[in-house]
């Protein structure tokens, strides 16, 4: 049976949504043993259904690296350690991203010969049946061309394993589609991938086309990836506000909403970032997933399913095979 470590604290909505998500998962499946870390009194509903570890302390959103390492009694630290010391096969948390990255990288550790871990996420595209994997979205704020080229390689493995797809298309994010485009480290990554002559490497892609359903994987350095991720979020949020405003304009538009509601709901569901399951730290020895801080029980359950999917796809094993030799 798979063993999943769960950090029950640190999210915006408290441990209740974590408990509800696990209970809902267990109603439908019996393939996972949950190891849940949090305040015992808040986890009572999980008694006899999961293994519970008490933790009093929560990682703060602004904690620096030293504080993070010093706070041994946090639910996040204990959950990551369950994964690091081999008890669990993966870990999920909706706490601070920075702390989760630090702990996962330092305790679960990078796969041998992996230069940097990358934060990746599956994003909905125009095509309702297709996700695009983008990485690195901000585990680093500076990367070499070699690192970015490896992000592309790891992205290809992850996408192929997750979706069982033979011919994965991998692009490098750039400021144009031509071969010579890019920032200096992007150009370096381009040359490395070209030289290795990977059939899956399709060249450069502008951020404008990342969501149009063509690319399976888009690799980039962490700083530009962060700008990409968050400007997608910001623009989607602005558009949602404007759609709401459009329907509230007058009586007619309000009636229009009543008629159009089912279509609008489909759209909301289509672009819901929770569908992607969360952000995964790619390149570590175990599956480490960071769910959205504001996850509700439904989103966190998607995160759990996603994490389990990642474990079952043997992504870490495939990456180890590739790099450890």
């Amino acid at each position: 049976m798979l063993k999943l470590a769960v950090d029950a604290m640190g999210g915006d909505n408290g441990s209740k949504i974590v408990v509800d998500a696990i209970l809902s998962y267990l109603k439908e499946h019996n393939d996972v043993e949950f190891h849940v870390v949090g305040k015992q009194e808040e986890l009572k509903a999980l008694e006899n259904k999961a293994i519970i570890y008490h933790a009093d302390d929560v990682m703060g959103m602004e904690d620096g690296a030293l504080t993070i390492l010093r706070k041994k009694e946090t639910s996040m630290n204990k959950a990551v350690e369950l994964c690091a010391n081999g008890i669990c096969d993966g870990v999920i948390s909706c706490g601070s991203t920075g702390a989760f990255l630090t702990l996962s990288t330092l305790k679960v550790k990078l796969i041998k010969n992996v230069k940097r871990a990358a934060l990746g996420t599956l994003f909905p595209t125009v095509d309702p049946n297709k996700f695009v994997l983008m990485l690195d979205l901000g585990a680093s704020n500076e990367n070499t061309g070699e690192q970015i080229a490896q992000f592309a390689e790891m992205g290809q493995v992850v996408y192929q394993s997750l979706f069982n797809k033979e011919d994965v298309n991998v692009y490098l994010l750039s400021n144009g589609s031509e071969d010579k485009k890019g920032c200096p480290e992007g150009k370096e990554a381009f040359n490395i991938l070209k030289e290795k002559d990977y059939p899956w490497f399709k060249g450069n892609m502008e951020s404008k086309f990342v969501l149009n359903g063509e690319a399976d994987v888009v690799a980039t350095g962490g700083y530009a990836g962060n700008v990409l991720l968050k400007s997608i979020e910001g623009t989607a949020s602005m558009m949602s506000k404007l759609i709401k405003k459009a329907f509230r304009k007058n009586l007619f538009t309000k009636i229009g909403y009543l008629f159009a509601k089912s279509g609008i709901k489909d759209m909301k569901k289509h672009v819901d970032p929770a569908r992607g399951g969360g952000a995964m730290l790619i390149g570590c020895n175990k599956i480490c997933v960071k769910a959205h801080g504001n996850s509700d029980a439904v989103a966190f359950k998607t995160g759990i399913e996603f994490t389990i999917n990642m474990i079952k796809s043997h992504i870490c094993e495939t990456l180890k095979e590739k790099y450890e030799q």
Copy 2:
């Protein structure tokens, strides 16, 4: 009277939209002398209304720097030269961005002590009455901290001059709002601006918040700026497609559209990038504006108005005063 050089060729929709835009402008104003460069036979409608210069050749979208400089008979080259040699006060083109940047920088030249020109554009925000100026959006693909800090300075001047606003808020694009966040050159720019103790410098901003109406100016290096600009465009385009799809779902949603139409049209207008007027190359001795390649007559007219606004705001003069001493 202001003198504006217009490149009539190179846009996706030919010179007709340029002619129509100028005619429409002249119907309402008589403050500008247009110097229009293009195929004489296509500019007949402007006879006696504008000064016409014949040019046969068009700059190609893929032309490299050397080709660009060699193609002397292009409408773009001639239009930029009208500006460079002092005949006109500004120039506008909807041709190739790369060629326009090269020609403007090399012929109109940078203001003394300006390290790099930046491509800036006004973007609609959630607030219908407010634009945000973002720069550099891709004139460079690599920048130093010093250059980025100067982009922030120039952005402040441009915004203040254009909108007559005393207390302009300027932010640096970053991967977090904390002072220590950023890519290495971003951190360097942050320190330079902090040291100069500018009252308008408000710190770092994530790309997520760029469109929320808080910032007047967001400065960044050209590579990240390009990722930012184009992911906003890509996401907005995806959302527009999904809204269309939502309304086409079934008979009810189609009826819903009929009722909600006026609100949706307002929204489209609100986010129309043409409202921003085009991209301006900031830091040159004259006003150089690049209109969208796919501009129609309405968008190009907005571009003309925007360029004239820029000239009337004495932006170049203010920048020269600031830097030439």
